[in-house]
Each structure stands twice: as C-alpha cells, then as structure tokens.
C-alpha cells in the first residue's frame, strides 16, 4: 500500500497494465516524453519505451480512429484526450464506430479501447476546459462511461476498464487529481494525504464496472453523485443535517440500478447532483428511472442540483458550480414533505 493522489493512482494503473500486457499502449497529445499536461502519464514512456506511450497529432478523431483500428487488430489501446471538451471532434468515431462495431459486425470485430480524459470544472478553466459531457455518452448504446471519485477507485476502475472488451469512456474529475474538493472554493487546497481511499495497492486490482458505492449510509434521503460531486455531496449533506444516504455511481453505464433503487425505495427521497448543465443531463435519466421504479415509495419529488443551463462561464465558476449549499437547500426541500 502507498498513499497516492489520483494522478499517481491512474499512473499506477497504466504502469500495471503496460507491465502486464504487451498489447496495451497509450497515446495522445503530449502524453509521451512529457507525460501529459496533468502529468498523468509521467515516466511511462521512459520506463516502457516510446512505442508504448507516445505523442500524437492534435487530432482527436484521428486518435480514436487509430485506437479502434488497433483494437480490431487485437491490441488494447488506452488513448488520452487532453480535455473532455475536446472529445467532441472524435464524437462520430466514438458513436458510429467504436460503440457500434461489435453490434454491426455480429461480434466479428470490437473496440476494446479505454478513452481517458480529464473532465469537469473547478479549476478556472473557462468554457472549454471545464465541461462534463457524460450525458451524451450515456445515451449512446454500446459505450460504457466510468467516473471515479477517489484514487483507489480510479486505479481499480481504470484497470477494469482497460480489461473490458467494450469501449469505455473514462472521465477523470480533474478537480480531484490532487485532492478531494468539497465545493467550497475559498479554502486552503486539500491533498489526498490521510484520505482512506488514498491508500492504494501498488499492484493489480480491479473495481468492477457497474457497482456503485454507498459512501454514507442514511435513512431520510438518497443523494446520487459521481466524480467531484461525491465530495461536494458529503459536505452538502453535513451542512443540511439530513441523514442522507450518499451513493457514488462510479459508472453511469453500466448503471447499478439495484443499489440506487434499493436506496430510494428505503428513503423515499432523492437528490441528484451533477456538474453538467441540468437540461438533458444524466440526472434526467436517473430521475426518470427512479420515479418509474420507486414511485410508491417517493415522499417528495426527486430533485436535481446541477450546473445552470448556460455554457460554463469563466468568471462565474463558483456561481455556476453546484456547491454544497445548493445541495443542502435541495435536501431541505425534499424533507419538507415529512
């Protein structure tokens, strides 16, 4: 066991796989010699050679197309897209090709690729270094989407994603790279030091895709979150005084429908928290599913706390970001109907 921040944990997952499996390789913009703009691939090219971890042209579509072709050959590529905002130029490759290859070819070819990308806000990155595009992937049949919230999960989920034979979008909450973040921007930066989920085994382990984690047991309400929002949720729950159960989805596809349904059936109240703008966001799917499955248990409407329906605004980051205060208010609202 070692204490790792999320960057180190992801780096360790990649190192384990490069060591384990000669068919894995990493490529993306600035990931090679330099080790990535967030240093996530630091040292991998040096240790495993440039052929295992190399720089690519600035061409997200090309990166994904190359990965799919390599996957069809029999490799297990792990491309990086520098920011999730820049996945969009590769959207057609992901949707029309990676996600559909197995289905349309009747299992003749498939795309066992894992697309890593830092995502989310909270670093003053403005419109195009802050977005949370998970909802548009969730709607695409054939794609899996995974979002860790701790170093331990990041490593275990990433190894599971790489070993998965289907295409996985692996979104790394960049605000959590160096430490947990409770959504209150004014305070001193926290590191992962001392956090239980920063104890990360050096070797191989997996956290299975499709299993949510109950981060906090509670009886009065259920809070669903993923990525950075898991930590914000903890703060918001504390602020609210509500005895809420907090579930970290960890992967949105596959979705752990059993765990979330059981919790909402128990508590009868639910608040969904995500950074992405609200309209058409993944919260809509969750709310729809839960009112379908837990209708008779619900004591109040399912609430969604999310980014406003505007692009991500640079100077107003903390007005936009759904912080613990907004969650606490939503919890108070769902508790009104006691």
């Amino acid at each position: 066991m070692a204490t790792m921040n999320m960057i180190q944990a992801i780096n360790s997952a990649l190192d384990v796989k490069l060591t384990d499996d000669p068919d894995t390789l990493i490529f993306g913009e600035d990931v090679g010699y330099f080790g990535g703009v967030f240093r996530v691939t630091d040292g991998l090219a040096k240790k495993h050679g440039l052929k295992r971890c190399f720089d690519t042209p600035i061409s997200e579509g090309g990166i994904i197309a190359t990965a799919i072709g390599m996957g069809a050959y029999g490799l297990r590529p792990i491309p990086e897209i520098q920011f999730a905002d820049y996945i969009l130029p590769a959207f057609d490759q992901l949707v029309s090709e990676a996600a559909r290859l197995r289905y349309r070819s009747g299992g003749d070819f498939w795309a066992p690729i894992t697309v890593r990308s830092p995502y989310g806000g909270g670093i003053f990155g403005g419109q195009t270094h802050s977005q949370s595009p998970e909802a548009i992937f969730a709607h695409i049949t054939g794609l899996k989407t995974v979002i860790p919230s701790t170093p331990y999960d990041a490593k275990g989920l990433l190894i599971a994603a790489i070993e998965d034979d289907d295409p996985v979008i692996f979104l790394e909450p960049k605000r959590l790279y160096n430490g947990p973040f409770d959504g209150r921007p004014g305070q001193a930066l926290k590191t992962w030091e001392g956090h239980p989920a920063a104890d990360v085994p050096e070797g191989h382990y997996t956290v299975p895709l499709g299993k949510a984690a109950v981060v906090r047991d509670g009886q009065e309400a259920t809070v669903l979150a993923y990525g950075t929002m898991v930590h914000v949720a903890l703060a918001g729950i504390a602020e609210s005084g509500v005895d809420a159960e907090l579930i970290d989805l960890r992967s949105i596809v596959p979705l752990d429908i059993e765990t979330i349904t059981a919790s909402v059936a128990k508590t009868g109240r639910c608040v969904i928290l995500h950074e992405a703008s609200r309209f058409g966001g993944f919260g809509g799917e969750l709310a729809a599913l839960l009112q379908e499955r837990c209708f008779w248990a619900l004591k109040s409407p399912i609430e969604r706390v999310a980014g406003w329906d505007t692009p991500y605004p640079h100077a107003f980051e903390w007005d936009y970001f759904p912080g613990p205060g907004r969650l606490a208010k939503a919890l108070a609202r769902v508790m009104e109907n006691a």
Binding site: A65, A72, R102, G106, F109
Partner: protein, 410 residues
C-alpha cells in the same frame, strides 16, 4: 491598418459544375489521362521527395507499349481475375434485380469498378486486412466468401451472418480479411492506419489496405488517417476510388479542379500514385509497389484509382436525373472486364467462346447460391431470431437489454 480596399473587381462565389448535365454532351476533357511522369516506375524504396511528380501522371499497362509497370502476370492469374470480375458483375446484376423483386431492402453495385477491389484481393496476403467501401464485394468473391452467405445477408434472412443487425452489403468478414463496413463514409479509413500501426507495433508482417470514395476524401477522417499514416509510417495502402461521382455530385466538388486526388499524398509526405483503375494490370502493379514499400517499413502510399461509376449510386438512385444517360460510354478508360478480356484474347489466352462459357458456369453457380438463400427466405419472409436484436450491444448484456428483451417477450 491600410485604407479600406477599393478594388475594382467585386468578388464572386465560384460554384463548380460538371461538364454536362442530362441532355448535354458527356465530356471528360477536364481530366488529364496523360501518362506523364508515370512512364517510369521508380523503385518501391525510392525517397518520397523524388516521387512528387507521380501523382500528376497516370499509371497504365494494358494498351501501353512496354509499360514499365507491367506486372507480367501468368495468363492463368489473368483468367482467374477475369472470372472473378465477371462473377462480381453477374452477382450484382442479379442482386439488383432481387431488390426490384422486393427480396432485399437495398443494394449497391460496383459495375465498371471491379478491378479495384479484386486485384488487391488476389495479390495481398491472407493475413492482410482490407478496410473496404461498399463497392468492394469483389474482394469477398475473390477471397472465396460463400455467395450464399452474401445473399443471406442481402436478404436479411434467418441465416444472415450478421444476424439482421446490419444493412445488406455492409458485410463483415474477418476471416476473409474484410473489415466491418458501416453506413458512414470515410470513418474506417483511420482504422486501416491504426490496424497497420498495430501490426508494426507487434513486429508482424501484415499490412492494411484502406479504401475511400473520391467524394468522401473531403471528410476530416481522410486527413486524420493520412496524417497518422505519414507521421508513424504506417504499413498501409490507402486508396481512393475516384469513380467521378458521389451520388449526384461530381468529383469537382470534392477537390478543386486542375489537381488530382493522388496529389493529396504530397501533403502527408508519402508517395501518391495515380492509376488507370479500369486496367486490371495497372491496379495490380500499383498495389504491389505500395505493398512492397509498406513491408519494407517505408510506410504508406496513397493511390488514386481513376474509374467511372457506371451504375447508379444504389438501388435508391436514378443517375439520369443528374448526368447524361450515355456518360459511361464516353469514359475514356473503358470497362475493366472488356479490357482484360480483350487483352487475354489478344494474347491468345482467351476467346469469346470461353468467355461465354465462363459466364454460363458462373451464372449457374450464382443461381444455385441464390436458390439456397431463397430456401431460407427473402426480406420479410424469414429473419433471424428477434432475440438477436439484443445481442452484441456489449460483450455481456446489461440489465437494460435483459429487461427489455423480457418486455418484448423474445
């Protein structure tokens, strides 16, 4: 900052139009068919910088005295090629009629373009991989993919090898070196490059062959694939099937006039060959040259095959709406089957009689394959188990499709 420009000329938007529309006189005068720099055949290992004139010439063999590119094929190989091209044409004609009879939802032909898919299929190794367009069923026929299985897919019947999930003609046949097609044009060109890079990464000896239509070269995918191919020296042959038309849109909308598609190679630091695509021997020679270069770790070659889409775009298309009805007859490079046939006859290696006999034999094979497929059923009369709809979304089904399958009761 300078004073506002007062130019005497007002700007004008230029919208290119083809030489002739229906009712007009077909013409291909805007295209250069001169052999030019392609008269010489450079060594396959020549440095790219020495090859920059090639894409403006035209590689031809048949009907050209002592072409440097003559692959010197044994007559039996040429006869085999002729038979496969003929089989492909007969197959497509038959399936086109099957569409008119309501036996399939959709079909596309490669009439006049058969040499392009078939020469590489005969020439490349079993382990090499073709990333085809939808005008490459000749590859499958050359590689011996069962005709009956093709028809089963075209009919979407219970024995459809892709289990009803995919359109007719968008085949997938890994074991025959034929990558899965999709409806999107161009989006697999980069897969060919990735596959080739993987082969190089593994120290393998297999190469990839990617095809794209001339119209589809305008997609960003084309550029991205070639950029990767150039930078990493991917062992791939990247081929443009320039059949002059993209549905109703002529090639002058895909790239500026006065240039060639092959010359796009220069942008990526790789050789570009421009080839008479209706000349089976030229297609063979160019492919072989590029394959040799790729296997020698010199990376990719871009090849433009000049041809003409003699058929409509698909069963949904009526080309007389947008081009002269007799345009095909004016195509200066003729028909690949007629040309190879004449070449063999001229060599004394073939005859009209043998040709007619071959046609009859091939037709009989087709008839029996079609009969077998029709015993299974045609579109709507037979289909794969509906449960197949829910398979292969992922390797393992998740709760959603399990529940939904239950809901549908299949």
């Amino acid at each position: 900052m300078a004073e506002p420009q007062t130019s005497s000329h007002r700007l004008e938007l230029h919208i290119p139009e083809p030489a002739a529309r229906p009712g007009g006189t077909a013409s291909f005068d805007h295209i250069s068919f001169a052999i030019g720099a392609a008269a010489r055949k450079p060594a396959p290992l020549a440095p790219e910088a020495e090859l920059r004139e090639l894409p403006f010439g035209l590689i031809r063999v048949m009907g050209t005295e002592n072409s440097a590119w003559d692959p010197q094929l044994p007559p039996e190989t040429m006869r085999q090629a002729l038979r496969i091209m003929l089989q492909t044409r007969l197959f497509e004609d038959r399936m086109f009629r099957a569409h008119r009879q309501g036996k399939t939802s959709f079909f596309m032909k490669s009439t006049g373009e058969e040499a392009i898919g078939i020469a590489p299929a005969m020439l490349l190794g079993a382990g090499d991989m073709c990333f085809p367009t939808y005008r490459m069923q000749g590859w499958l026929i050359a590689r011996g993919y069962p005709l009956e299985m093709m028809i089963n897919q075209i009919y979407s019947n219970a024995k459809d090898p892709l289990a009803g999930r995919q359109l007719p003609i968008l085949y997938s046949a890994r074991d025959y070196g034929f990558y899965s097609l999709s409806g999107n044009v161009g989006s697999r060109f980069g897969h060919a490059v990735g596959w080739a890079m993987a082969s190089a990464y593994k120290g393998d000896d297999k190469i990839a062959l990617g095809f794209i239509g001339e119209g589809s070269t305008a997609e960003g995918d084309f550029h991205e694939a070639l950029t990767f191919a150039g930078v990493y020296r991917a062992p791939a042959i990247l081929a443009i099937n320039n059949n002059q038309w993209a549905i109703s849109t002529f090639a002058g909308i895909a790239t500026a006039d006065g240039t060639t598609f092959a010359s796009k190679a220069i942008a990526y630091g790789i050789p570009g060959l421009r080839v008479d695509g209706n000349d089976f021997l030229a297609v063979w020679a160019a492919t072989q040259w590029a394959a040799e270069r790729a296997r020698a770790n010199l990376g990719a070659t871009l090849i433009e095959f000049l041809t003409y889409r003699a058929s409509g775009h698909s069963t949904s298309d009526d080309p007389t709406k947008y081009r002269p009805a007799d345009e095909a007859a004016h195509w200066p490079l003729g028909d690949p089957i007629e040309r190879l046939k004449a070449h063999l006859i001229q060599l004394g290696e073939w005859s009209e009689e043998r040709h007619a006999q071959a046609g009859a034999e091939l037709t009989e094979q087709l008839r029996s394959a079609q009969r077998a497929a029709e015993e299974v059923g045609t579109l709507g009369q037979s289909k794969p188990s509906v449960a197949e709809m829910f398979n292969c979304v992922f390797k393992e089904p998740d709760w959603r499709v399990i529940e939904q399958r239950r809901e549908l009761g299949v």
